[in-house]
């Protein structure tokens, strides 16, 4: 007889007294899920800093962050699809939502947020769409690709060809309005991801009202860090291009780009530091409070936090993921190279925070008398170990870049002075 595989058994090691049905049911993809949603929310908040609060220096970064946030958006539910046992039924969440469940809110909040970001992008890029469409329309003997571009651009204008100064001003006003509505929705989108965990009363580590707030703060930290990192990468690539073919269609020299780059980075890193302080303070508050009140579950939690997961929490998350980049950004004379390393460490730190919540929350048994150890599947030997293993996570991580590349074809991020 072929042994029947129990979901979770392949990567769970059980120790001491655990209930028979206990396994690590929420794995790497559920780590990826709040990580990716966090990036979406964070990127959006960063773009709103410019649109709503009018921080002019962030102009380039803002447009970039907005499109990147849109590229990240479809990737937020991707880990869930990888995780669902009946992924083909995912539509049920939209069809029969049960709103007493935090996950059911996902359908609506996510769709609303997606519509809002798309709406905002439309206003930001309407002028560009119209111009492209018009220039292509007048062009005789269009090539195949130009025909496609014309069709797409023309369609996306929804027939709104007015690009008078008055109309553009109206666009700008609309962007500001949508961005300000977007900030609370972005926070809600990610806050509810924290609520999914924080409201599970059966899980001693997850259950805290601070969870949604902690998630929002670390989300913004990760979103800002990822935007900075990707921005640097794109700018470096542009510098290479500007170097090679002068005069390029950007009409900029590498030196122009360099000074623009470091200025944006310096300013953004200040916001990064600010949100990092919030995130770390809240996490420490949570830890201190648990230790001080020491309710029934504290014995097992302490053994997990200070024992089994010590390296993951205090060395990888707090020391390498928080303290080290914090110092790097705080030291004067910030360079691009230091920023790259710093943002990478911050992203790693936030990822470890998600890991320590999701996996850490399942590393002790409901009996409070046993442990479960998660063995991350590396080499997949079937669909299940691919989806819930290293390669599944890498697939999820790579997808936004593919989408960003595609989106950039229609909504070019660096179009100089033509857009807001």
């Amino acid at each position: 007889m072929i042994p029947i595989e129990v979901h979770g058994e392949a990567w769970t090691l059980k120790e001491l007294f655990t209930y028979p049905n206990e396994y690590i049911y929420w794995t790497i993809q559920i780590v990826m899920y709040p990580f990716m949603t966090g990036l979406v929310a964070g990127a959006f908040v960063l773009s709103s800093l410019y649109h709503v609060f009018g921080i002019k220096q962030l102009k380039d970064m803002a447009r970039f962050a907005l499109v990147f946030s849109f590229a990240l958006l479809p990737v937020a539910p991707l880990p869930l699809l990888f995780h669902l046992q009946q992924a083909q039924r995912n539509i049920n969440v939209f069809m029969t939502p049960h709103f007493t469940s935090a996950i059911a809110a996902f359908g609506l909040v996510f769709a609303t947020y997606g519509a809002l970001v798309a709406y905002e992008i439309w206003f930001v890029y309407r002028e560009h769409l119209v111009k492209t469409a018009l220039s292509l329309r007048d062009k005789a003997d269009k090539t195949m690709s130009e025909n496609v571009r014309y069709f797409v651009n023309n369609f996306l204008t929804f027939g709104a060809y007015d690009i008078s100064e008055e109309a553009i001003a109206r666009d700008e006003k609309s962007v500001k309005l949508l961005a300000s509505i977007g900030i609370p929705i972005a926070c809600f989108l990610h806050g509810y991801a924290g609520f999914i965990f924080g409201s599970v009363k059966a899980n001693a580590l997850w259950m805290t009202p601070l969870m949604p707030v902690i998630f929002i703060m670390s989300a913004i930290v990760s979103g800002v860090a990822l935007c900075m990192l990707t921005y640097i990468i794109v700018m470096e690539l542009r510098k290479l291009l500007a170097d090679r073919k002068k005069p390029s269609r950007f009409h900029v020299t590498p030196d122009d780009l360099k000074s623009a780059e470091i200025n944006e980075i310096k300013l953004t890193s200040r916001y990064l530091l600010l949100f990092m302080i919030f995130a770390i303070s809240l996490e420490l508050l949570d830890l201190i409070f648990r230790g001080y009140t020491a309710v029934k579950s504290w014995d097992i939690l302490r053994s997990v936090i200070y024992g089994k997961d010590f390296a993951n929490i205090f060395i990888l998350q707090y020391l390498i993921g928080n303290l080290l980049p914090f110092a790097m950004f705080l030291l004067p004379g910030l360079t691009i190279r230091r920023t790259v390393i710093g943002t990478l460490l911050v992203l790693f730190g936030v990822f470890m925070m998600r890991w320590n919540v999701v996996i850490g929350g399942q590393s002790f048994s409901l009996t409070f008398a046993g442990y479960m150890h998660y063995v991350l599947p590396v080499i997949p030997h079937n669909m299940e170990t691919y989806k819930e293993g290293v390669f599944g996570a890498l697939t999820v991580m790579a997808t936004p870049y593919v989408l960003f590349w595609l989106l950039n074809k229609i909504f070019p991020v660096f179009i100089g002075e033509t857009s807001h």
Binding site: T100, Y119, D162, S174
Partner: protein
């Protein structure tokens, strides 16, 4: 041209309506709040009947066995093992004798050891059951070679 700002909104509203129409066809008609509350009663009503129609395997009715296996039944009823249902050892009867025509008896030591492996647990009735140490008590033999499960007293040794 002033109202062009709402055009994407119309697209969004159109999409929402499309989803709602699709929902009408997709969601079973009996899906709704059945029971005391939305929190605990939001479901597809038909599923209750599906569970009720789940196949029963165990009859757990020794009288059902009696008609054909009266000798075994009478013997068992005299013994301390009368508290054990026939199907506990013989497996689920289903529609026996038509389907399956023959039930497979588990003759392994494991079945007897469930109760008769001695465990000195004072707060459990287990301590009151006559037990053996499985590693020392004829470890290579099947229990039924000496003991008759239908008349298991030591006097009834084969």
């Amino acid at each position: 041209m002033k109202n062009y700002v709402f055009r994407p909104l119309y697209v969004i509203i159109g999409l929402v309506i499309a989803v709602l129409i699709f929902r009408e066809f997709y969601v079973p008609k009996d899906f709704g709040t059945h029971g005391e509350s939305y929190m605990y009663g939001w479901h597809r009503k038909g599923n209750e009947e599906e569970w009720k129609a789940f196949k029963v395997k165990y009859r757990f009715d020794n009288e059902y066995c009696k008609d054909c296996h009266s000798d075994k039944y009478e013997s068992l009823m005299q013994a301390p093992h009368a508290i054990i249902k026939c199907e506990n050892c013989h497996g689920p009867a289903l529609d026996h004798p038509s389907d399956p025509p023959k039930l497979v008896v588990d003759k392994g030591r494991g079945l007897c050891l469930r109760c008769h492996s001695s465990l000195p647990y004072p707060q459990s009735d287990r301590i009151n059951i006559r037990g053996i140490d499985p590693d020392k008590h004829n470890p290579d033999m099947e229990c039924s070679m000496c003991h008759n499960p239908h008349k298991p007293s030591l006097e009834g040794l084969k």
